[in-house]
Symmetry: D2
Subunit: 166 residues, 4 copies
Amino acid sequence: MDTKDSIRILVTGGTFDKEYDELTGSLFFKDTHVGEMLRLGRSELKVTIETLMLIDSLEMTDSHRDRLLEVVRSASENRFLITHGTDTMEVTARRLAGADIGQKTIVLTGAMIPYKFGSSDGMFNLGSALAFVQALPPGVYVAMNGQAFPAEHVRKNRNSGKFEWI
Amino acid sequence: MDTKDSIRILVTGGTFDKEYDELTGSLFFKDTHVGEMLRLGRSELKVTIETLMLIDSLEMTDSHRDRLLEVVRSASENRFLITHGTDTMEVTARRLAGADIGQKTIVLTGAMIPYKFGSSDGMFNLGSALAFVQALPPGVYVAMNGQAFPAEHVRKNRNSGKFEWI
Amino acid sequence: MDTKDSIRILVTGGTFDKEYDELTGSLFFKDTHVGEMLRLGRSELKVTIETLMLIDSLEMTDSHRDRLLEVVRSASENRFLITHGTDTMEVTARRLAGADIGQKTIVLTGAMIPYKFGSSDGMFNLGSALAFVQALPPGVYVAMNGQAFPAEHVRKNRNSGKFEWI
Amino acid sequence: MDTKDSIRILVTGGTFDKEYDELTGSLFFKDTHVGEMLRLGRSELKVTIETLMLIDSLEMTDSHRDRLLEVVRSASENRFLITHGTDTMEVTARRLAGADIGQKTIVLTGAMIPYKFGSSDGMFNLGSALAFVQALPPGVYVAMNGQAFPAEHVRKNRNSGKFEWI
């Protein structure tokens, strides 16, 4: 199959994939749950899941973003879903939007509550982002709160925890 | 706000909204959970939720479909998400596609496992369908298994329970 | 270890272990979930889990109960937890209580909502029954709704779905 | 009803009742979930739930324990279930065991994973502790990992997170 039509899912971490460590009482990363979530959603999409890193987005540096950029640039796919912490999702989105990566559709999403906890927005956001990456024209977008925002027009409202148009 | 830009969610039932009755051991409908699911997904979309009926789609008749058609035709919105049982979702989709209802984007979705049970595809499908109804051009679609199928090109494979292109 | 001090868990089915079949929309049995539930409860008890049958208790016959009785009589353990459908749990309990099986502590439990569905009473009942089987003197009991009822003094109230003293 | 036969549930907090704050990404206390858990377990026990405090047990001081002791001593009930953080549960248990509080059955329990998260041992432990408090003779016990340990013979193994007999 022509990989140009498949979707590459790049995992970077964020609350989306955090888990609770019962021995220390803190949150940590083990593995990504994206594959399991796609099975639960009974997704039949052709996707490749690649874990680039598993970090809180507050710990993301230019070096991390450069790596992400390089993977996107060199991949043969032209559709990407990036799971990412919500705190600096807009920073990464704008970095990708300003780079020279060709005509690709890139959608970033995350979660406010870890998928592993009850009442997570993870499954909803994953379904949403995967739909947007298939339907939207080339560009970089943030898919949160049911919507897709172009990278240049989005910011996370730190009081409400919601993403909004700017 | 111009209602033309908001989304009307029409609930018809299906496995999506079924619940388990512990006294009889069977499945039944009480109320729709769509509002609760949108809150869990932290959706900020402007939507109106209307419960037209709560039935298994195997019990849907032309009369039911006529009612659904009429609501879609007369509403001022031009974007609709219809929750529906998966067994005859394609029948309803094709009925809507063949009707004269104007330039509207209509997406039907459902679930293979009730939202109220563990491991449901409900949240994933709702996020998916809401994204598609915002991004796709006017027409009638079925959003299941992560994809959006035009009404004339979809059928449910009864052996696998998955929706496929025809 | 002296098997007399370990607990033998005998699985017979009931709502406790039912699952939802998404292709047919009905409930069915696959495997017992007791082992998984004990891991979730972080139980450190020495137990042996044996699946005798996986049926709805409305389908239980004298033949099924005879088999259960024989397993209890011939086992070396003297503490048993039996998972069972709630509809005829009291029938099986009284059968065991009237039989000549020696000085054994036997606790029957079940669930009103399948463990696999959200909001199940399964984990609560399992923890409850396992505690009762360790603390109660020899005899046959039904552990439901947080309490332990001696076999001769219990019945399921079919209107409320709760177990009560008679 | 003679309150001597009812159970008084004293809530002190611990992982059992922690929740995830999506805005800060940390764990915090809002209200106890014990009432909701008893409804889910379909418990028909006569209980009174009293929230004394909602703290991590690492923050418990003699002052907190004195308050707990006083409530137990002056109450008319003679059966108590105390929800408590697991880190210093044995400390509080031994304090109660060494005090002059009369012939009361006191069972402490908690959870390694918050009830509000998926895969919690909370429901199992609650069912277990409530059964033990009904069946055990007067004394102070810790109910964790499916067992009841007398206060003088229990400690939490900090490596495994399990409670064991000493």
